[in-house]
């Protein structure tokens, strides 16, 4: 098969500030009729590189060739002219408009929706998309929105498609569907680039893999000639054992018994619907579900941050054997009861930590009220900060560095370190490895396992089903605010979890539509 290059990058360099070099002298070639994976850990410069092809950033130096001719891509408009289309991780759609309106928006002087809709249907048919052009965006699921984004760039005539982490928000079944479509596009002669950090997807989908490490292209390999271990080694720079250890729970006792929990969102929509489950000491309870299915509300309700309409949250105190109902108690009241409840929230810098404060002051968040007097005592938090930096190998210039200056993995180490420092009896963690590199992720898994061994009841909300299945003891699947099922993580399969996640998911989509916008 003769290959014609669609894009060639030569010596592309891009720096942010003086210290952060996002891309350094990167060479990369994408051929027509192939799927290329750009693989790399978070912060390795994948998205920056692709943003330079799609005109969002401008390279500091280096050349871009399209069909063998040197070009300058200074704006998304230029990229569009060269038939490059990028599908971003965060969708850029107008919620109250229909799919067709979003796709046609800004293209022609005259708005001809009928023509647009028929053209959209033709594209959808050609590649096997399922989409109603007249459906409004806010009524759509995440995967439908993604479909709109993909058709949007196809509609504009793109024949080089770049997808940034397209599967991050999809269930396993939706992912399979997307992959089938992408293969069809490849066979149609389009050049397709997917940015990802998931190894099994790379192997399942792509023809070639380009690996980035710390902004540099460290190699391009044919997928057929590689495997997970080799790719990880390329990506991280050293061999890594990808197995997550899982010990058997020792003497599990009921620690937290949630019964018939109902919660409403600010808008009055039911976000938790009759949720009941038990978290036991010495085990990790996984919570799986499509983003925005009520996971956040569940954890916040337990932590005393979300108003509860009805139901009970019973805490069994292992020291006294007493039972406390945590419902409608504030975080301070929960603490005053002697309940050692730790919570690693999803929004690390917006909730768990204060970005502009240094590590010491962030340690103090949990302890500043301790001690008499009107003044702060920084001695203890300083010691804690230093011990966490040392024990968890936090990379930072010092304990007085604002945490927002730290990388994602180090921010998370600071947060988790603080939360486990109080010797919790219940530890809740929401997406604790999101955005972390492989090494930091394994550090976090180890910390959670350590807590499990200490007899803590760990509740782990995750999105990567492979990790959930490997790390947890039991998996609670939540969909549209309801419990869809409880599985034994040792015997369950990814497909089982995926099926439960989408069960009754249409309610979930509505919740999610609201959620996603706020988070943005």
């Amino acid at each position: 098969m003769s290959k014609t290059p669609a894009i060639e990058l030569k010596g592309i360099t891009k720096a942010f500030g003086t210290k952060v070099v996002a891309n350094k002298n990167v060479d990369l070639t994408v051929y027509r009729g192939e799927i290329l994976s750009v693989l790399g850990e978070n912060g390795s410069g994948k998205t920056t590189l692709m943003n330079m092809i799609s005109g969002i950033y401008f390279p500091d130096s280096g050349k871009i060739f399209i069909d063998g001719r040197e070009v300058v891509i200074a704006s998304p408009k230029d990229a569009f002219r060269y038939k490059i289309g990028m599908i971003h991780q965060h969708f850029k759609l107008v919620d109250i408009l229909t799919a067709a309106e979003n796709i046609e928006l800004g293209l022609h002087e005259k708005f001809n929706l009928k023509r647009a809709a028929s053209h959209i249907r033709k594209i959808a048919e050609q590649y096997g998309f399922e989409l109603d052009p007249m459906k409004k965006i806010y009524e759509m699921s995440v995967s439908e929105k993604q479909t709109v984004e993909i058709i949007k760039v196809l509609y504009r005539g793109a024949d080089i498609l770049i997808l940034d982490e397209p599967t991050a928000v999809l269930t396993p079944q939706e992912t399979q569907k997307l992959f089938a479509i992408l293969r069809r596009m490849r066979d149609d002669g389009k050049a397709i680039v997917i940015i990802t950090h998931k190894l099994h997807e790379v192997l399942a989908l792509s023809d070639r893999v380009a690996v980035l490490r710390k902004g540099e292209a460290v190699g391009t390999v044919n997928t057929a000639e590689t495997d997970e271990e080799k790719l990880t080694e390329l990506m991280v720079g050293k061999k890594i054992d990808l197995n997550i250890e899982r010990a058997d729970p020792v003497d599990p006792q009921d620690r937290l018994v949630v019964d018939g929990l109902n919660c409403l969102s600010v808008e009055g929509v039911k976000v938790l619907d009759n949720v009941s489950f038990t978290a036991k000491s010495g085990e990790i309870l996984g919570v799986a579900g499509i983003a925005g299915s009520g996971q956040r509300e569940l954890l916040e309700a337990i932590a005393g941050l979300q108003h509860v309409e009805s139901g009970t949250i019973l805490y069994h105190d292992p020291a006294t054997g007493k039972e406390e109902n945590l419902r409608d108690k504030t975080p301070v009241q929960i603490r005053d009861l002697g309940v050692r409840l730790s919570f690693v929230p999803e929004d690390r810098l917006g909730m768990g930590l204060v970005g502009n404060m240094d590590i010491i002051d962030n340690m103090m968040l949990r302890s500043y009220t301790k001690g008499a007097g009107a003044f702060l005592k920084r001695k203890e938090p300083r010691d804690l900060a230093e011990s966490i930096i040392e024990r968890l190998e936090v990379v930072t210039p010092g304990a007085t560095t604002p945490v927002r200056r730290l990388s994602g993995g180090n921010v998370q180490k600071v947060l988790v370190g603080r939360e486990i420092a109080s010797a919790p009896t219940v530890l809740m963690a929401a997406y604790p490895v999101r955005g972390l590199d492989i090494n930091s992720s394994y550090t976090i898994y180890n910390l959670l396992n350590q807590q499990k061994k200490n007899g803590v009841a760990v509740i782990f909300v995750g999105e990567d089903l492979d990790v959930l299945l490997a790390l947890c003891d039991r998996i609670l699947v939540i969909g549209g605010g309801k419990i869809a099922g409880l599985l034994d993580a040792r015997t369950a399969t990814k497909e089982q979890v995926g099926l439960l996640m989408t069960k009754g998911s249409h309610d979930a989509y509505h919740v999610k539509a609201n959620d996603g916008e706020v988070a943005e």
Partner: protein, 370 residues
């Protein structure tokens, strides 16, 4: 061939000349060099503006500017007193600002403090002994300022109303109230002005300026300690940075908002007391004199740090006093000195851009030879 060459040329032309890059932390002395350069540049521009608009020469401009600010001993004292009063208002708004509560009602809060003071002086002046009168004046002025700030704070805490509009509107109510009482207590009757009130004037310490300066120096240190080392100060920072974090660790956000804004208003009330009983010995709609608004700039330029704010307050008062003399010597009105102050503040705030970012020239692309 030719068409292709043209196309290449065209594409190279469109490449932007510069791009903006964020700096990492800048060394402190480099930041100060940039700031000093900005002040120098601002002075040069304003002297050029003066020379262009009038027939004065630049040397005369600068010497007049300095003479206006520090030309005589009296001017130096006035400069110090004005700096301290402006600083006091800035200190008042700072805790609220740190909490991201945009209190732009300091003008009104100062006026209410002043109005409470003058009421005591007029109504109780001949009924109470002097120490008791002072006590009542202090308590009422602090209360008046605090209440004026507390009203918007309650609405913000419980119903999340916009504090910017609310505090701003409270200014106008305060101004009109002062106008009403000026008319009511006018001396002589019908003049619409309150003449000098003799009872209840604050004692002169050393001279008539020093008392203000001592009080403000004390508040500066207290405020620094409060914000940096107290539990309250810590809560203010957390609420300001992220209300979600505050909720997460169990801070009562409503309480912190109301408590902090009370402090903010109370200090404004003290400013009103010092202005009325320590300086003007009367009140008018102009007693606050725009300090409530200028204080916002002082607080921001000082990055909410009370000690840096001394510097920014000094700079602003120095410039306004200096350019006052420039405009009166040149036979121009007050607007001219406002123009000069405006130019200089523009440069000082603008230079922060160059402290946070830098412009990088794009490397020229070498010609492709094939």
């Amino acid at each position: 061939m030719n068409a292709e060459a043209n196309k290449k040329k065209e594409s190279r032309v469109r490449e932007p000349m510069f791009h903006i890059a964020k700096r990492d932390a800048i060394v402190w002395w480099k930041a100060w060099i940039i700031r000093i350069l900005a002040v120098v540049a601002a002075l040069i521009i304003s002297s050029l503006v003066t020379v262009l608009l009038t027939d004065a020469d630049p040397i005369e401009f600068f010497s007049t500017l300095f003479r206006g600010a520090v030309g005589t001993t009296r001017r130096i004292w006035v400069l110090a007193k004005e700096t301290s009063l402006l600083l006091l208002v800035a200190l008042a708004v700072t805790p609220a600002f740190k909490m991201r509560f945009w209190n732009i009602g300091a003008e009104g809060q100062v006026l209410m403090g002043g109005l409470a003071t003058v009421s005591c002086m007029i109504l109780l002046g001949d009924k109470l002994s002097t120490p008791l009168l002072y006590l009542v004046m202090i308590v009422t002025s602090v209360l008046a300022g605090a209440i004026w700030a507390f009203i918007p704070a309650v609405f913000k805490a419980f119903w999340n109303t916009n504090e910017t509009l609310f505090t701003l509107m409270m200014n106008y109510i305060a101004i009109q109230l002062v106008g009403y009482f000026c008319h009511l207590w006018a001396m002589p009757k019908g003049s619409g002005h309150i003449g000098t009130v003799e009872n209840g004037q604050l004692p002169a310490v050393g001279n008539e300026y020093l008392l203000n300066i001592i009080v403000v120096a004390a508040v500066t240190v207290l405020m620094f300690v409060y914000l940096r080392y107290s539990k309250h100060g810590y809560e203010i920072s957390v609420v300001g940075e992220s209300e979600n974090t505050a909720r997460y660790i169990g801070i009562n956000v409503k309480k912190v908002i109301m408590r902090t804004v009370l402090i903010s208003g109370a200090i404004c009330g003290i400013t009103g007391l010092l202005l009325v009983a320590g300086s003007e010995h009367s009140i008018s709609k102009d007693t606050a004199g725009g300090r409530g608004f200028t204080a916002i700039i002082v607080s921001w330029m000082g990055k909410f740090n009370p000690f840096y704010m001394i510097l920014s307050a000094f700079l602003i008062v120095f410039l306004s006093k200096g350019s006052d003399l420039v405009s009166s010597n040149l036979g121009l009105n007050k607007s001219f000195s406002d123009i000069i102050t405006g130019i200089i503040i523009f440069f000082i705030i603008g230079c922060e851009f160059f402290i946070n970012y830098k412009l990088v020239r794009n490397s020229k692309k070498e010609v492709v030879k094939q």
